[in-house]
Amino acid sequence: MNIQEFLTIFISAVFVYNVILSRFLGLCSFIAISKETKPALAMSSAVMFVIVMSSMITWFVYRFLLLPFNLGYLRTISFILVIATFVQLVEMIIRKLSPQLYRTFGIYLPLITVNCAVLGVAVLNIDMFFINGKAVAGSFYYSVFQGLCVGLGYTLAMLLMSGIRERLELCNVPQVFKDFPLAFVIASILGLSFMGFSGFKF
């Protein structure tokens, strides 16, 4: 475990392999909720929180339940169940503790269960930080940090996109391109600029 490794994870998760613009995870929510900046920010913070927590939980589930009992093939089922239960729990807790917070991002929480970014990061962590059925040194910290960075990447893409789409409201675009099609074209141009971070491998 060293600082360099953390830096690599940060750069690759936020910029080079941006969760939305180059891995296409969480694309549905990205297109649907990026019309205005405020809900976009609320959704992003909810996603970031859930990704970090679920990275932690799935690491424990994989390391202490699935690996010792040789149940690696149950990964998909157990992870999605754990994530769904966790999201439900968070929703209940928030509703009880802080109605204010619940109004800001409570309605987005159920959506996050089927957000592929959450499950995607969990699976990615296992693929990257468990080699031949053994956890690499410091894999827990790497997993959580990667979760955090992916969340940051999601927030970055969401903020950029919502800012652009807010301005587009005032523009005169062709009728057939309104909403979804134009959002994809913009995402594509954003993606082009993010390709610059990977240094154009030919």
Binding site: F24, L27, I77, V114, G120, L182, V185, S188
Partner: protein
Amino acid sequence: MKDLIKEFAKGIIKENPTFVLALGLCPTLAVSVSVANAMGMGIAATFVLLGSSLIISLIRDFIPDKIRIPCYIVIIATFVTITELCMKAYSPALDRSLGIYVPLIVVNCIVLGRAEAFACKNNLARSFFDGLGMGLGFTLALILISAIREFLGSGQILGHTLVKGFEPVFVFGMPSGALLVIGLLLGLFNLLKDKRV
């Protein structure tokens, strides 16, 4: 019988999951680099869709309403695991190139969407044909996108060169090319819909 054919046919054009309902876009974009990948993903997703529609429509009367979503997810995840294991055993190369997008079929909105909107309200035969039609519509959409991307991005389709001396446009093999292709295709479909009306 006519009714069943209608359930089957609607998924292909009229309610195409990708272009009309805009569901399940993440895997569509990620695996559409080549036609071979797209076919693999299409078949896998169709199998999961078909299996989960069948089981859900069979036990729809026993599932309590309050916990139906977790129940659906467990059923879907079971079929995804079956697919994953089969793919690992019979075509490891395809499994490697699809990567994490195979387990991610679980959170593909088409599968859960059909379970929630159709299979839990309809009988076995109708759910079967609905699942088959939706799966086929998804596969066809994937093949269309991947054919455009593979041709423009590498000048080939399924490894065969179509036009001699065609200079490949590198960006269409990259993520941003995928977003551009689907954006333009959605625009085109909107245009066609406007024309018809």
